[in-house]
Each structure stands twice: as structure tokens, then as C-alpha cells.
């Protein structure tokens, strides 16, 4: 079973994402901000990360840059999932090493399609 770390400051979003990912046969971990997510990754690098952008303490992009510097951190497949939907944000995310990008709102179909594209399914 592959693991996916869900990083989002909204409990509701985490719950929805968790349900979808369980249906897709992922084992899930959760964090409410980038810094908590990084702590998890320092112990074990997840196969995938579903990542919000705007969060307190440490935002998604800062987390991603830090993750990519961790030993083994480049192997994790990172899919942004955020309300930021302009080209500049997407560009920044890709340059920081994101593998895919979902513009909220999201549903199971979009997550499945994107995860398939990056070879997670």
C-alpha cells in the first residue's frame, strides 16, 4: 500500500481527501501545516504528498522546497491542491519541484486522474 501525506489546514478538506485516498487504496498521514508535515517526512518520506498552498506556520511552497532537500525527499510525488489558480503560482510550484497541480475545488475524479498521470495509480 502506498502512503500519501495530506497537508491542509482545513480539517474538512483533510477529511474529504482522506476518504478519496482510502478509496484509491492509499494509507494516509495528515498534517495541518508545512512544518508539521516536514516533521513527518523527516521520519519517513511518503510516496505522495497532497499539498495545500496557504497555511499558517509554514506554507506549501516552503514545505516543498524543504522536502526536496531532505535525504530521499526528491522521490516523493507532490501534488499541489490549492485555490491558487493562476499561472504564476503554478509556475512557481513546478519550479519548486511539484509533480502535479490541482486547482480547488477538487473531487475524487480529479485526484484519481492526476494521481494516474504521475504514475501513482
Amino acid at each position: 500500500m502506498k502512503s500519501c501525506l495530506i497537508v491542509d489546514d482545513s480539517k474538512v478538506v483533510r477529511m474529504v481527501a482522506r476518504k478519496i485516498l482510502h478509496e484509491l487504496n492509499f494509507e494516509t498521514l495528515e498534517a495541518a501545516d508545512g512544518s508539521a508535515a516536514l516533521d513527518i517526512c523527516k521520519k519517513q518520506i511518503p510516496d505522495a504528498v497532497l499539498l495545500d498552498w496557504n497555511m499558517p506556520v509554514m506554507d506549501g511552497i516552503e514545505f516543498l522546497r524543504a522536502l526536496r532537500k531532505l535525504p530521499g525527499g526528491s522521490a516523493s510525488i507532490v501534488v499541489f491542491c490549492t485555490t491558487e489558480n493562476d499561472i504564476d503560482h503554478i509556475q512557481t510550484a513546478i519550479e519548486a519541484g511539484a509533480n502535479e497541480y490541482i486547482m480547488k475545488p477538487f473531487d475524487s475524479e480529479i485526484i484519481q486522474a492526476k494521481f494516474q498521470q504521475v504514475g501513482l495509480l
Binding site: 489558480n85 493562476d86 499561472i87 503554478i90 509556475q91 513546478i94 511539484a98 502535479e100 497541480y101 490541482i102 486547482m103 475524479e109 480529479i110 486522474a113 492526476k114 494516474q116 498521470q117
Partner: protein, 277 residues
């Protein structure tokens, strides 16, 4: 809707497009036809059916038929058919047509354009190997309304998230307000034309590659056979046909045979060699 009226509309739609509507689709029919009635200032479906019975009004009959088409499409739908094109068909096409340096691709029921534009993106990505080549992508559909959308090349956030890799979104689209607009260079690679698959297809010419995906499922057996037979005549001897995930030629047409190891890809029954291997 009265059973008689339902049957009348079903017959009309089947005769004109091949689309089969079963009785359990009555709700669909009503919900699709109400807007047509409203646009024409009619009070309801009774008046609409009356007008259909009156015949004569070609525009109305066309509008009713178009309203019953299902136009759902995604970029790189099902992924595989596009991977096969990029990894297998295109390299073979390039070596097989080295002399002529030209090929034609046909999307036979292209709907809002995601399928031809996906192929255009693949060709663009491989542009270095295709410089000096004449490449044509033709997209046809029965619905003029959906073709207008294809030509506009403007997609919602929802549409660009279904199947389109983010790198390609960044590369080939610009965002204006809430709309993602496809690159003009990509747009110019695709020609759109209204065409009914039930009509004589000869005028379209010959093709190396045909995508006829997710339209045969709406037809009955005899119509499927007829359309496949026609397509077989438009295909170059080494050409390939892509069908949708729920479609097959098996038991429907002996003009094609499946390409072993490539699901959903077919070549002419008599071909000893095809672009798919």
C-alpha cells in the same frame, strides 16, 4: 412526454445521427429538449413535438438532434491511446512517410476539441522530428454548437484538470479571467468541419490515423458496422484506428482486426503491416 411523442423524437434522432435513445432515457430527452423549446419561445414540449411533426423546419430538427448528443470529452482521455500514438505510431509514421513527409489524422467525433488538441500537443512536443512535414489534424462532429466550442479553444478550470498534465497546461494555455485559452499556434494545427458519420465519408480523403472514440457506443449494431465499413475505406493500407474503451470491432465488422498488445487499436483486416506494428 407521451409515448407516441417520445417515439417520434427517438426516430428523428436515430435517423439523423444514429444515436439510440431507450425508453429509460425519457427524462434525459425532456431535460435536453426543454431548453430548445424555450429558446424558440415555445410553451413546452407539446408545442415542440407539434413543430417536429409539422416537419419542414430543418433548423429545428437539427437543433433537436444536436441537443441529444453527449459531448463529454477530456484531454488525453484514458491516457493510453495517446501514449500509444506518441511512443509507437508516431515514430513508425515518421519512418514510413519519410519520402512524402506528410500525414493526416482524423478525429471522427471530436466534440469540444480535447482529442484533436491532445494530438496537436503531442505533435508540437515532437516538433523537432517533424520540421518540414505537412501534418493535418481534422476534427469533425455532427454538432455545430460543440464545434464552435472546439474552434474557440477556451476551457474551464474543470475541463483543463481532467487529463491534461500540468506542464502542458502551462506551456499551451493562457488564462484570461476564468477561462483557459489554448495557444493560437496549437489551434491552427487543427481544422474543424461539421460532418455526420452516417453520411458518405469519401469526401474527407485518406488518413493514416483515425480516432473514432466514444461515439459508436451510442449507435446500434447495423449503424456501427456501416460506420466502421466506411472508415475502413478512408484508412491508408497501414493506417490505424483508435476506438473508445467500451468499443470494439469484434462481432461488428470484419474490415478491421485488433492490433495485438495494443488495446483499443485496430488495423485493416488485410494489412500485413501497420503503423502500430
Amino acid at each position: 412526454m407521451k409515448p407516441d411523442d417520445f417515439d417520434l423524437v427517438c426516430r428523428l434522432v436515430k435517423d439523423r445521427s444514429g444515436l439510440i435513445l431507450t425508453r429509460d432515457k425519457a427524462y434525459l430527452l425532456e431535460s435536453r429538449l426543454m431548453p430548445v423549446a424555450r429558446r424558440r419561445g415555445m410553451k413546452g414540449l407539446d408545442e415542440l413535438v407539434g413543430a417536429i411533426r409539422g416537419k419542414g423546419d430543418e433548423a429545428l430538427l437539427r437543433e433537436v438532434t444536436e441537443a441529444m448528443t453527449t459531448n463529454e470529452s477530456f484531454f488525453f482521455r484514458d491516457i493510453k491511446p495517446f501514449e500509444v500514438f506518441r511512443q509507437t505510431i508516431l515514430p513508425r509514421l515518421i519512418s514510413a512517410r519519410e519520402g512524402k513527409r506528410t500525414f493526416r489524422i482524423w478525429c471522427a467525433a471530436c466534440s469540444s476539441g480535447q482529442e484533436p488538441y491532445s494530438l496537436a500537443m503531442i505533435l508540437k512536443e515532437e516538433a523537432a522530428r517533424l520540421s518540414g512535414w505537412r501534418q493535418e489534424i481534422l476534427g469533425t462532429d455532427i454538432s455545430t454548437e460543440i464545434l464552435a466550442k472546439a474552434k474557440a479553444g477556451a476551457y474551464s478550470q474543470f475541463e483543463v484538470q481532467r487529463g491534461l498534465p500540468i506542464q502542458l497546461l502551462l506551456k499551451y494555455f493562457k488564462k484570461k479571467d476564468d477561462v483557459w485559452q489554448i495557444d493560437p499556434a496549437l489551434k491552427s494545427m487543427v481544422q474543424y468541419r461539421e460532418f455526420n458519420l452516417l453520411h458518405d465519408l469519401k469526401a474527407l480523403g485518406q488518413f493514416e490515423v483515425v480516432y473514432c472514440r466514444n461515439v459508436l457506443i451510442y449507435f446500434d449494431q447495423p449503424t456501427k458496422s456501416r460506420v466502421l465499413e466506411q472508415i475502413s475505406r478512408l484508412l491508408q493500407p497501414d493506417g490505424v484506428l483508435f476506438l473508445g474503451g467500451a468499443e470494439t470491432v469484434l462481432g461488428i465488422s470484419d474490415k478491421f482486426k485488433p492490433v495485438p498488445t495494443q488495446r483499443g487499436v485496430y488495423c485493416l483486416a488485410g494489412a500485413t503491416q501497420s503503423l502500430a506494428g
